[in-house]
C-alpha cells in the first residue's frame, strides 16, 4: 500500500509544472484520502445494495406474504412454505434439477479435462492463446440463440436425423429428451469449464510433473496423483460454475428438454405466468439460492483445502 504519510510531507512540485498547479497541499492529507476512499468504494456498493441486495431481501420477505383475491399483501405467514413443502411435484422437480445439474457438471468436467490438459502442456503459447480467444468469444455470445440452434440440429426432422435417415438408419428421438437438455447446458458453460481448468493447470508447478516423471511414474499416474490434486482449485471451480449455471438455467430444460419434465426454473416461470403467485415463485427461488450457497461454500472449502494450497502456493 502506498505510504501517504511520507508523501504528505513531500515538497509540492516545482512551480510551473503542470502537476503542481492543481496540487493543493491540503488535498493530499489524510481526510482527503479518506474522502477519496469512501467515494471510490461507495458508488458501486450503493448501486449493488439498491438493485441487488434490497431486491433479494424483498424476495425473501415475499415468501411470507399472502395473496388474497389475486392481490399481494404483506404478511408473516408460513402458508407458502407449508404449501410448497407439501407438494410432491416440488420434491420431484428439486431432485430432477439436482440430478441434471450434477450430471451436466460431471460430464462437462470430464470432457473438458483432456482438452484443458492438452492446452496447458502440449501446445505452443500462440496456439493456446488462439484457442482461449475462441473459447471466450462464444461464451459471451447469445446462449439463447445457440440453444435454439441445437433445436435445428436435434429435431426429429433436424440435421442429425435427416443425416441418419439418408444413411438408412432409424431416426432417434433427441429433442425433448434429457440428452438434449444436457447438450444445452454444455453449450452454456463448456468453454468456461475448459478455461477455469486451464487456469488451474497453469498454476501447477511443472517441476513437480517432471519430478514424478523422472521418478518413473507412468503418465496416467502422474496425471492422477500429481496434476489433479495440484490443479484442484481450477477443477473444482469449473465443476461448481457448471453446476450453478445448469441449476438456474431455464432455456435448456424448456426449449431443448421440452419442458414436460419441469426443473425448478421452469416451475418458477410457470408459477409466475399461469398463477401470478409471486410468493410461491419467491419461495422456490429462495430454495434455489440456499442450495447454490451450500454448494458454493462446500466447493470453496474443498478447493482451498490444505492440499489445494500446497499445489498452488
Amino acid at each position: 500500500m502506498s505510504d501517504l504519510d511520507t508523501i504528505q510531507r513531500a515538497p509540492a512540485g516545482s512551480p510551473g509544472s503542470e502537476l503542481a498547479q492543481t496540487g493543493a497541499p491540503a488535498g493530499r492529507g489524510n481526510p482527503a484520502r479518506w474522502r477519496a476512499a469512501i467515494i471510490w468504494s461507495m458508488a458501486l456498493f450503493i448501486w449493488q445494495c439498491l438493485f441487488f441486495l434490497i431486491p433479494l431481501g424483498l424476495l425473501v420477505a415475499m415468501t411470507f406474504w399472502s395473496v388474497r383475491n389475486f392481490r399481494l399483501s404483506p404478511d408473516l405467514t408460513l402458508r407458502n412454505w407449508n404449501h410448497l413443502f407439501g407438494e410432491s411435484y416440488f420434491y420431484v422437480a428439486y431432485a430432477r434439477t439436482l440430478t441434471y445439474s450434477a450430471l451436466a457438471s460431471a460430464i462437462a468436467s470430464a470432457l473438458a479435462f483432456p482438452c484443458s490438459y492438452v492446452l496447458a502442456y502440449k501446445v505452443h503459447t500462440s496456439t493456446r492463446r488462439l484457442v482461449i480467444f475462441l473459447l471466450i468469444t462464444p461464451f459471451f455470445t447469445s446462449y439463447l440463440v445457440r440453444a435454439y440452434s441445437w433445436q435445428i440440429i436435434l429435431a426429429d426432422q433436424g440435421l442429425i436425423n435427416s443425416l441418419l435417415s439418408s444413411l438408412g438408419i432409424w431416426r432417434v428421438p433427441l429433442l425433448n429428451t434429457p440428452v438434449a437438455t444436457i447438450i444445452g447446458y454444455l453449450t452454456l458453460f463448456f468453454p468456461l469449464v475448459i478455461l477455469l481448468q486451464l487456469v488451474g493447470l497453469s498454476g501447477v508447478d511443472k517441476d513437480l510433473i517432471d519430478a514424478a516423471h523422472n521418478l518413473g511414474a507412468a503418465p496416467l499416474r502422474t496425471t492422477i496423483e500429481v496434476v489433479v490434486p495440484s490443479a484442484k482449485v481450477g477443477l473444482v471451480l469449473g465443476a461448481t460454475f457448471a453446476f450453478i449455471f445448469a441449476f438456474g438455467d431455464f432455456v435448456s430444460p424448456a426449449q431443448l428438454g421440452g419442458g414436460k419434465a419441469p426443473t425448478l426454473s421452469i416451475l418458477i416461470i410457470d408459477t409466475v405466468k399461469s398463477a401470478s403467485n409471486w410468493p410461491m415463485a419467491s419461495a422456490i427461488a429462495l430454495v434455489m439460492i440456499v442450495t447454490l450457497m451450500v454448494v458454493m461454500f462446500s466447493a470453496l472449502s474443498v478447493a482451498y483445502g490444505s492440499r489445494g494450497r500446497a499445489g498452488n502456493g
Binding site: F45, I152, G158, I289
Partner: protein, 271 residues
C-alpha cells in the same frame, strides 16, 4: 532403431489425438453457431437437409418488421448506457481495490461481484418485484438498472487485471510532484487503464446485448431483441429467428473479439 521409430510413431499419434480432441471440443462449441448462420440463408421454411438454396428473404422479412427494428433499437440503447455506467462503476471499485485495504474488503468485493453467480431467472424475479414498487417495473430504465448490476463485475475484473500490471510508484510520483487525489487518477491511472476501459465497455455491452432472462421479467412492452427472440421461440417455427440470431451473433462476436484483441495487445507480461 525399430524401437525408437515405434516410439516416435506413438508420440506422433498421441499428439495427433490430442489435437483432434481439442478441435472436437471447439467443433462442439461452434457447431450451433455455424448451423444457425448457414440456415439463415436457406430458402426453405424448415431448417432441414438437404439445403434448398441461397436466399436473403428472411433478412428482408426482418427489416420489414417494425417490432423487430424497435426491439433492436431498445437493445442498442440499453446496451450503450449499460456499457458506459458499468465501466465507470467497475473502474471506481477496481481502483478502490487497487489502492486501499481494510478488514472488510473481501466482504465488500463479494457483495459487489456476486450478482452474476445468482441465476438470472431469480435476479429477474427479485428485480421485477422491487422495481415495480419504485415505479421502474416494465420499463427500459428497469432493464438498464438491472443490467448494470450483472455487467459491472465483468468490468471490475477486466479493469482490476489491468491495474495489477501497473507500477504503484507511478501514482506516488504524481503525488510527490503535487498532484491531488483526483488529478493523479486523471493523468496517471486513466491513461494506463484506457485499453481495459474500452474492453470492459465492449464486454459489458455484449453481456447486456444478449441478456434475455432479466429483461424478460423487467422490460414489459418495451421488449429488447433477446426478449423478442425468446417470445418468437415459444411461438411458431420461423426462419426469421435464424436471421435475427445471425445478426445477434455478428454483433456480440464483434464486440467480444475487439475487446479481447485490445486486452491481448496491451498486456504487459504476454504470458
Amino acid at each position: 532403431m525399430v524401437l525408437a521409430g515405434g516410439l516416435e510413431m506413438g508420440e506422433r499419434l498421441t499428439t495427433l489425438i490430442q489435437r483432434v480432441y481439442v478441435l472436437f471440443c471447439l467443433a462442439f462449441i461452434f457447431c450451433p453457431i455455424v448451423t444457425l448462420i448457414v440456415f439463415s440463408f436457406n430458402v426453405d421454411r424448415f431448417p432441414s437437409l438437404p439445403w434448398k438454396g441461397f436466399s436473403l428473404a428472411w433478412y428482408q422479412a426482418l427489416f420489414e418488421d417494425p417490432t423487430i427494428i424497435d426491439a433492436f433499437q431498445n437493445t442498442l440503447t440499453v446496451g450503450i448506457c449499460v456499457a458506459l455506467v458499468s465501466t465507470f462503476l467497475g473502474f471506481t471499485a477496481a481502483y478502490f481495490d487497487f489502492r486501499w485495504d481494510f478488514a472488510w474488503k473481501r466482504a465488500y468485493l463479494a457483495i459487489v461481484i456476486l450478482p452474476p453467480t445468482i441465476p438470472f431467472l431469480i435476479l429477474g424475479l427479485a428485480l421485477l418485484l422491487f422495481l415495480s414498487r419504485i415505479g421502474l417495473g416494465s420499463s427500459l430504465t428497469g432493464v438498464f438498472v438491472s443490467h448494470v448490476v450483472i455487467c459491472t463485475p465483468f468490468a471490475l475484473a477486466i479493469i482490476r487485471m489491468r491495474l495489477a500490471e501497473m507500477d504503484k510508484g507511478l501514482e506516488e510520483a504524481a503525488w510527490n510532484l503535487g498532484a491531488s487525489e483526483w488529478r493523479s487518477v486523471l493523468v496517471v491511472i486513466l491513461p494506463f487503464v484506457l485499453p481495459a476501459l474500452v474492453a470492459a465497455a465492449l464486454i459489458t455491452m455484449a453481456v447486456s446485448f444478449d441478456e434475455f432472462m432479466i429483461a424478460w421479467f423487467v422490460s414489459g412492452l418495451d421488449q429488447t431483441l433477446p426478449v423478442k427472440i425468446l417470445l418468437l421461440l415459444q411461438g411458431q417455427v420461423s426462419p426469421r429467428i435464424n436471421a435475427i440470431g445471425t445478426i445477434v451473433f455478428a454483433v456480440s462476436f464483434t464486440l467480444v473479439a475487439i475487446a479481447q484483441i485490445i486486452l491481448l495487445l496491451t498486456r504487459r507480461d504476454n504470458a
